[in-house]
Symmetry: C2
Subunit: 382 residues, 2 copies
């Protein structure tokens, strides 16, 4: 039996997610928005019976068994941890910091019977599922290089907000790069051990963000990851993100190995084995019939759709509303994966400041908050 | 009046160059090859009346006024410097080291009346000539990012030789990267101040190179350049070279600015201004009618062809065989440009070892040879 759903957020992802959930048979009972007005407006539009700006009203709602959290990163940890504490299953977007991610991991470990997955969606995209399968089957031979490019228009909101602020989790690296970092660890079966990167904010002001306000989040980022783990000691990943390209959207993930290569362009998968004359189309795009969203690139949209399908399969296997089967969502990123991704993001940011390769060291215990305070003071001083 | 030409080299470039020279009306009088046999064979094939394996026989040949040097990098400096000393005009490929490049600069400065240009050919490609013009005219607004990708099959020769040896000037960075480094300084009007890079040799042995022999030259290279100079303080260049991709050839140079972007794919130029719906074709490829060469990518082939045309224009302006006009070859890279490129190549290699950003410092005086010896000994010890 499918669980009742409560959705946090009124942004473009939440707006797409609700119809996708409904299409799979989920009932969305409650919507939370930062303001009463935003919540009311979107609830009406999407036909959700209850809306609020009080998070507890959704978390404690008796018909809500699954909470989907698509809100600004800085607010995610609080809601996610609380939801688990109340006994709700959680799908959520990334948090703003590694410390927040670590707190989410702690909560998820404490409630292993509850579903807790990152709403990071590229893993579910059929092209990447197929790419991973082909990598395992040895299509490219020994994996050498992953090369990712995402180009698109500005990620900034119309008005000044968290998307403009690096410390609030804005910027291409945090928003899009984190999905790529997760994807690459999924595809390679390995994790970054050392990273190097460079971030830039080319557009610091625009017609809407001006005066004393400045954008601090990156609109250009490239980084390299040297992957570790069994059999992948030598894999180099290079990622280029450029969000100063209005009117275009390029999403290309290429993996090159000793005997061939695979490349996902948008939602399609191509491959070429060494010695063959040209590329072969391995997985076409059968055409998207769901909602079109200007702000959301097709790979993310399709991935989200596939994830909702997996959620349906996971829950419908059981009679009880809150029970779920691990199988269909086994490939989803866990909160542990979320912590890894956040750790890489922060290492890339450190590297951009230091100019050096930075090690990716996953937090194993929560840092002393006083130590954090000292660091924050230190940072302000500089 | 066109000068008589002597060609050094029997490789794929020399093989293409001779017909291109002849097509423009140059007479090729002499060919040098490393062995008598190689020289004889190619001279017969291309209809060159004189061949030799003694460099002086070409340099002192009375009908030779222009010397084209397309030989392994480690031999280039010696021939180029000697040719200038004998009073011949010189077009040549890159040398193996910055010290060699510096010696060539010294010779070129000593004989300013002689033509001395690097046979680096991408600057002459019509797509890049047009790209530079559009950059100057402000098509992309304020330049932010240059992003270059070159993918192709292995650069190794069939048999073991200099192409396998990093210290002999082999590898993707030295062979192809140097043409890109030169091109980017031409396009941006600026020079790299700091670079960061990563080199890999994924294929260290193959069916032809095995046993105790190993390839030391890179087949994968990723580097970034932060450009300096007036008005380009913030330009980031990223370059990805991958020569583990048999059966494909990708040559893409993209420049992104505040109001638009330009991208050269192969020999064609596309552009898109922010706000416009799609890319426009700015310069198509009218179809290549010259010789097809498997080892030589079309952009290099076309660039070489355009350079030969420019050489013809430069020389035919004058009555005297050895005189030339600066105008038509003004855009060609000088030996000073060659030194800059070599300096960047070496800085990228240093960065790949150190893991740090390396400064690009152009040599201003020849280093003490004893100091070099010490370094070489030091290197051997490690």
């Amino acid at each position: 039996m499918l669980p009742g759903v409560g959705v946090f957020g009124t942004g473009s992802t939440a707006r797409v997610l609700v119809p996708l959930l409904k299409a799979e048979g989920f009932e969305v009972h409650a919507l939370w928005g930062r303001s009463e007005e935003e919540a009311c407006c979107l609830a009406k539009e999407l036909g959700i019976p209850f809306h609020t700006s009080q998070s507890d009203d959704v978390l404690l709602h008796q018909d809500v068994d699954l909470v989907c959290i698509y809100i600004p990163p800085s607010m995610t940890r609080q809601i996610a941890v609380k939801a688990l504490g109340i006994g709700k299953n959680v799908v959520c977007e990334k948090a703003a910091t590694a410390v927040d991610s670590f707190k989410m991991v702690t909560a998820a470990r404490y409630y292993p019977q509850l579903l807790s997955i990152m709403g990071n969606t590229l893993r579910f995209l059929p092209a990447f599922v197929a790419m991973r399968q082909l990598l395992v089957e040895g299509y490219v031979g020994e994996l050498q290089v992953c090369d990712v490019r995402v180009y698109g228009p500005s990620l900034l909101d119309q008005s000044y907000g968290w998307t403009c602020e690096e410390l609030m989790g804005g910027g291409g690296l945090h928003t899009v790069g984190s999905a790529i970092i997760d994807l690459l660890s999924y595809l390679t079966g390995a994790r970054a051990q050392r990273v190097h990167g460079l971030l830039r904010t080319f557009v610091q002001q625009n017609s809407l963000i001006r005066g004393i306000r400045r954008v601090t989040s990156d609109d250009f980022c490239f980084f390299q990851m040297l992957m570790g783990g069994t059999g992948s000691g030598g894999v180099c990943c290079t990622v280029t993100l450029n969000f100063n390209m209005p009117g275009s959207f390029v999403h290309e993930v290429m993996v090159v190995g000793s005997t061939g290569r695979l490349v996902a362009r948008g939602t399609e998968l191509y491959g070429q084995r060494n010695g063959s004359k040209g590329e072969e189309l391995l997985l076409g795009d059968s055409g998207w019939v769901g909602p079109e969203v200007k702000e959301m690139p097709l790979p993310h949209l399709r991935g989200l759709s596939s994830m909702v399908k997996a959620l349906r399969q996971s829950f419908q296997a059981h009679e009880e509303r809150r029970s779920w089967a691990r199988g269909p969502v086994a490939m989803a990123p866990t909160f542990e994966d979320g912590l890894y991704v956040q750790t890489v993001v922060e290492a890339v940011k450190r590297s951009s400041c230091s100019g050096e390769w930075e090690c990716v060291e996953i937090m194993s215990q929560e840092p002393d908050p006083n130590h954090n305070l000292c660091e924050a003071l230190q940072r302000n001083k500089n």
